[in-house]
């Protein structure tokens, strides 16, 4: 059931409006662009966000104070899934990564002044942003504690030095949230700080745009060098040395919003497969009447339903105020794999057509593959999930013993 029984009617209405926007405005643009926006075409972004603004759908996850609609996490789950039905839907609603997570983080951690300067224009779609954490080997990758970029105190501020890569949306962004080590050494889990860095700041250079399998994230992924980039003390986001903690504030919900968006795309892939199965004949019957096709359709229905149930469940946990680390890790791991399976099955059902660009499925296949890797590869999450389960078991044993 796409929408939980107990959903507020206002959220249902938002979802319906999003559905229409996606169908009438966004999918035509997706078709036109082939879903490739790694070169960050501003005209396309403006056109989509203007339409969403007009429909009253821009940045629905941001507080009303900062121009959004104040949706809680469960409400986001419903609306983001609808937006995700097109690769470009999240861009239209201004809820795409990395901006969406950055808004969330700023709302939680930034000063009022920082919010005015960065959050407000970001939510309005006037500027874009990026999140500069990941580093090439041997730096911070799936193990964030390997962080090697440093920020050294200088009079009145900090000097940042280091190399970042796979920084999504960097090209054309107005500012970056940069994670740098302010104490400790690579391998330590402490001592990181987040900085707000205007991208026209001297010493910050986009060295190259990385050619990747996916091409549907606005402005793509870049490699960035910080070489003696100096920022003022007022550019520290939150407190010094609490960067890893804030990363968690950003990551658990960001993981889940990824799931919401990709779930929408999985549903789209399944709809394309259902359309094909309903109309194409082979061996004397419609594909939809062949058992092996039915099995694939059913498995995708199951994957979609289980993904949605885990997302809604985790959303309820986050809305209750809990951190939801285990729940969001489980949801991320499952959904990333399930979405990949759904798209893959849809390609298979469409046969040769499925790997041609006559339908967008092979585009989707390319886009979703990365989701098993970014925001923590499945292996890292499984490691963390197992460790938490073992700890929980140890606590219970102690409780029982006493």
């Amino acid at each position: 059931m796409p929408i939980p029984i107990d959903t507020d009617p206002s959220v249902t209405e938002l979802a319906e409006r999003t559905r229409q926007l996606v169908r009438d405005v966004v999918i035509p643009v997706e078709t036109e662009t082939g879903g490739r926006v790694h070169d960050g075409p501003e005209k396309v972004r403006r056109r989509l966000q203007d339409a969403a603004r007009e429909a009253g759908l821009l940045a629905p996850h941001v507080g009303r104070e900062w121009g959004g609609l104040g949706l809680n996490t469960l409400g986001q789950a419903v609306v983001f899934e609808e937006a995700g039905y097109s690769l470009l839907g999240p861009l239209a609603l201004n809820i795409a990564a990395p901006d969406e997570g950055n808004m969330h983080l700023l709302e939680k951690v930034a000063t009022q002044e920082q919010k005015r300067r960065y959050l407000a224009p970001l939510a309005a779609g006037d500027i874009r942003s990026c999140f500069a954490m990941t580093e090439p080997a041997p730096g911070a990758g799936s193990d964030p504690s390997a962080l090697t970029t440093t920020a050294t105190p200088v009079p009145g501020g900090w000097r940042i030095d280091g190399r970042k890569w796979f920084i999504s949306g960097a090209r054309g962004a107005g500012f970056a949230i940069c994670m740098a080590r302010t104490s400790g050494a690579p391998g330590d889990r402490g001592g990181a700080t987040m900085f707000l860095v205007d991208t026209d700041r001297p010493g910050m250079t986009i060295e190259r745009d990385i050619d990747t399998l996916d091409e549907g994230l606005f402005a793509g992924h870049s490699e960035i060098v910080f070489d003696g980039c100096v920022v003022g003390d007022d550019q520290v986001l939150g407190e010094v040395d609490r960067g890893f903690e804030y990363a968690q504030v950003r990551l658990a919900p960001a993981r889940l919003t990824h799931c919401m968006r990709w779930l929408g795309l999985a549903r789209r892939a399944q709809d394309i497969a259902l359309e094909r199965a309903s109309t194409r004949e082979a061996f004397g019957s419609r594909l939809a009447e062949l058992g092996m096709v039915q099995q694939q359709l059913a498995d995708s229905e199951i994957d979609i339903a289980a993904s949605r149930a885990l997302i809604h469940d985790t959303a309820r946990v986050l809305d209750s105020g809990a951190r939801g680390a285990q729940e969001s890790a489980i949801a991320k791991t499952f959904v990333a794999e399930a979405v990949g399976r759904v798209v893959d099955r849809s390609v298979q059902i469409c046969g040769a057509l499925g790997i041609s660009s006559d339908v967008p499925l092979s585009r989707f296949l390319r886009e979703v593959r990365a989701f098993r890797i970014y925001d923590g590869p499945s292996e890292t999450h499984r490691w963390a999930i197992a460790r938490r389960a073992v700890s929980r078991h140890a606590r219970r044993r102690e409780e029982t013993a006493t």
Copy 2:
């Protein structure tokens, strides 16, 4: 999260009390009996149900009017999972198949007089019951419309003739709910009627107890012959020729309560694996620190969480009054397979110990295997899930077209 955030505190309390009963009373009995109750040991049943009655936990799904606690489906999900933590927990709470589903059906369909005569003593644990639908080939199996048992009108009642098998709990039951064809021919989906048949009725014979892989369902599974078994008109359950419809009334929730109970057992299996992984060393480290063991533990956490999310989701749908055919089919298919995977991984983590009866895992392995077959094999559910998805797609296309 085992218990939804928005659960009523009274339900949470019931779940906690169930947890204690299972730990203190039920698991010791499970160990003593080896979980084998196919021969229906009345002493064991009395002992367990007496303890549950004393704890105020008997038949919690039945309305208060008939001696239960009136739990809704979501409440059942929480409590049944706790009971399912032991193979014999459901028997203790009187929520085991087939009695639990029969109580549900009687509450929905029976006359007041029938409820007094059958439901009340059933809920109290004074008698047991069975549900006589499945037939040996070429009769009603995964395709119920193949029903061959007939009920022919005789003065004042009906004469039932036919053969049923895999009738769980028949041996020692006080009555059977028997499905028989009252019109149409095998292959038609119409024309079945349900009858309440007292098991001491002449013409109803238990021909044999079937030796099966599972041995943990009280009184096992029998093959029954109806040979000129005559019952009165007042023994018709509901209305004539509406049997298939009532079967659906019984089946969707019964499928889900199976999921709830087996989920509890999967959690138990995972706890045994966690215990083993936390204490056993190999290759110089605890099993819990080895990546391949962590992967198995994590996959089981994911399977358990996704199963629970689907169960709770479907429970909310059923509690809203919807039929939930698609949701319960999806939940049943996923959970039956997930539970099997969890138990299998737990066995693997325990190694040779896992296949010995020194731990109960190989018992669990035998018990859960059948769940992918009964109440509709996974293939039949997948077929139905795909068909419903195709129909949904066709409806949407029509809506869009107009």
Copy 3:
């Protein structure tokens, strides 16, 4: 074991020479071109094939009479796997699809005159060819009997009319082998004939080059229209109305040579993953020491070994003169899926790097996906495999009965 124990030393030596050519000449060209040769760059082809010719490696599967080395199927398995280690290796050795299968077919079925005119220059790399069988819906796809393209007798020859798509290598080919219906109606399994059509023949038009997920097959895949294309009687390949039979002559070995080539690519992907796992550190140890990475590496070793064993086994069957329909269908289905899994795991082990074009893995991921679809999608093969198993069982029952 890459090379069977009982391999002829001359074959081992050929394989070694191929390995060197691939390492020294082909992989550098692959890197330079990014493995994208859908636009059919003749310069690249000439360069690669000149090097192979010089190394005495051109068209090793073709009889010595026609310029090849006369390798039997098992010998091909050994050499083709080495060539497949690079996406462009098969092009270099002139053993890429569709030319390789066409040479095989011509050698089996063509007249001496046809061999002189088509096979000899094809084997020498002077011209290329295509195989025009697949049609857009509702024509011949996974069900060849749906063939709609027709060939009508005209004085002295045949007039061909119809539409074909996903015709690999058509752009720039010297001739096409075109399958057309000469009797019966779509849905009949009989009545097809193969024609040799020079591509400069009036009435044959390449309508478009299809944009596809894969980009590594020389000259890509085109959509072709035959509109009153007239060919002489001497252009009939083999006999009239035996086209479906010849398609089988081509398909079983062609399926297997696909497997050989893709197996080489899987090995390459695994080597890239092994390199990464051996050098990259995370969480304080080399990736190669982490259990979940070991599991992936081991699973890929298993997939590679099982693929190779099935290929060699099937090669032995074909070399014995048997048709090997079941064996080759099993090999194709397993290998297509196994190769996809191996490449996918290698991407996962490489993380973000794996989806960047800094390593060729995401290119490989795109290329191998199609293999589960072309030459019969996995579902069609599974259907055929099951049917043959059921028939075998029926034959055995009859034998036992008598």
Copy 4:
């Protein structure tokens, strides 16, 4: 293809004779006993082995000098698969674990005198044997180096102390091959020695028979205590301190013969499923015509073919004189899982019947589950497979570098 193209006709003939013996003599006994022989019924063993002896099929893997037929490994693959078609076939041919592996080890390592005393009567079926290596935690399990049982020199011999469990066939065996530490400490990989211990020796006690999921191995699995058990120097098998090395001599082929036997059982399970699918109707067609059933049948055909290809491939490697550690580990891991899948699918295709003892499938399900654990659990093999692949990669890198 069950039998390799290049098989010696004498082996083909042996296989055919085995097939007949299994069909005419062994399966009837299997049915009669329900395949349960954990209590080691001597009458059953005598009856089966007498029939095999009469058919000239006893101990075909043992050299002719010692009463066998001198089959090489590939020949064993063909014959053992046929024997494995029934759970009791290997017992009949005297090629069941652990005797089969013990004969192999004795033939390789024992002195002539030891062979006369132990190998000859073992091959003739006059006595049985066991292999006492595995220990309860924290002793030798999947990590053999954890060996804790000790052998201390005493005048003229050795005194053995320790505890062993899951010792198959111990009850009623004539002698045990016992592995004990003669130098080093638990955790060291060196310092083990093998001893031939007559089971009537004072100080060796069978403490209990372990109740396990499987029940089809003759005489089951026991827990044994050595408490001051003294044996003479002539009871040392091979040389002192070379026990771990001999364990490898035994294990690689023993792993493979397990695969051969279980493959036969998988084929039997598939035949039962084919029979059911060919005769049972549902939803208006034979099961064999339903796509999801076809998919399961096809997947089992694929699993069986890939298992057999890996077994034959590894057999060729072993017959060439190579150790085949990687090949046999890959075969064991794949086949153990594949066989489990095949039996599981067959159960599913048979539905409720499949979990009843009306067909032997649920018996098979119980028997094959343990194969993923014994002779090294899949995880241990995967760990070793990955490590060997990483080492191979390192060697190649060095070769290329120089």
